[in-house]
């Protein structure tokens, strides 16, 4: 992750090219992921206390402005997912099945299928707990 830093570009390097911007947005997604992890960690912490404390916190967490932040964070989280999965074929060692190298589009599409499956399982489980 230690990219050589070209100081001549200045701090606005991300505005120079579309590819720079995509990398910048990918790195920026980490800020939103971190904020959401902190918010969720606090939610679980409040869940261990009394109902009043929990509701006070969810009033803040579910304020319309915060929901707008969650929508933005969701977009960044999906961008993280897309960029992370697209990089996997070049980050992983070559995967061979019966001596033939697995094409990268298969690796990428398998990951997306896995992600959709995991999301459906978790989403259904949460819905099931809410419904019962």
């Amino acid at each position: 992750m230690n990219r050589p830093l070209d100081r001549r570009l200045g701090w606005t390097w991300w505005a120079r090219k579309g590819s720079y911007m995509r990398v910048f947005l990918r790195e920026l997604s980490a800020v939103f992921l971190f904020v959401e992890v902190v918010l969720i960690a606090i939610l679980f912490h409040k869940a261990g206390q009394d109902a009043t404390t929990y509701v006070e916190y969810t009033n803040f967490l579910w304020h319309p402005l915060m929901v707008a932040l969650h929508f933005l964070a969701l977009a960044f989280a999906l961008w993280h997912t897309v960029t992370f999965f697209l990089l996997a074929p070049s980050a992983l060692p070559p995967i061979r099945v019966v001596g033939r190298r697995v094409p990268s589009f298969i690796i990428v599409s398998q990951q997306f299928m896995g992600m959709v499956f995991v999301s459906l399982v978790i989403g259904s489980w949460i819905a099931w707990v809410g419904a019962t």
């Binding site: 992890v37 679980f44 707990v129």
Partner: protein, 118 residues
């Protein structure tokens, strides 16, 4: 730094957190941050005070959630650390790294206290 660097350890945690974030964060944000407050009945129930107790009722769920959130926060601070340096913020990179990993350590502590040590 000469010879071996601690970077490899952080990088493997970073990669694991990246996979978990890619798989888990969209549905988590959608469920807790969007569908719950928008009053989708089942998600609103599941994220209420009693609903969240039911979700976290299983020790295995709490442990897995704690590990996943910890690794995702390590992944995020690792990227934020490099982003801060790449944005030419005039701070020593070693100080940035220290603050970043300290923040992740703090979050991991809060998660451990909330989910595992209760």
């Amino acid at each position: 730094m000469t010879g071996r660097s601690s970077e490899a350890i952080f990088w493997s945690l970073f990669a694991a957190g990246g996979v978990l974030a890619a798989l888990l964060m969209p549905i988590t944000i959608l469920s807790i941050g969007i569908l719950g407050p928008l009053q989708w009945q089942w998600f609103a129930n599941a994220t209420s005070f009693t609903g969240i107790q039911d979700l976290l009722d299983f020790p295995l769920v709490r442990v897995i959630t704690a590990i996943a959130l910890t690794l995702i926060s390590i992944h995020a601070v690792h990227r934020i650390r490099h982003l801060i340096v790449d944005m030419h913020v005039p701070l020593p990179p070693s100080l940035v790294a220290f603050i970043a990993y300290a923040a992740a350590f703090g979050v991991a502590g809060l998660i451990a206290v909330s989910l595992v040590l209760i």
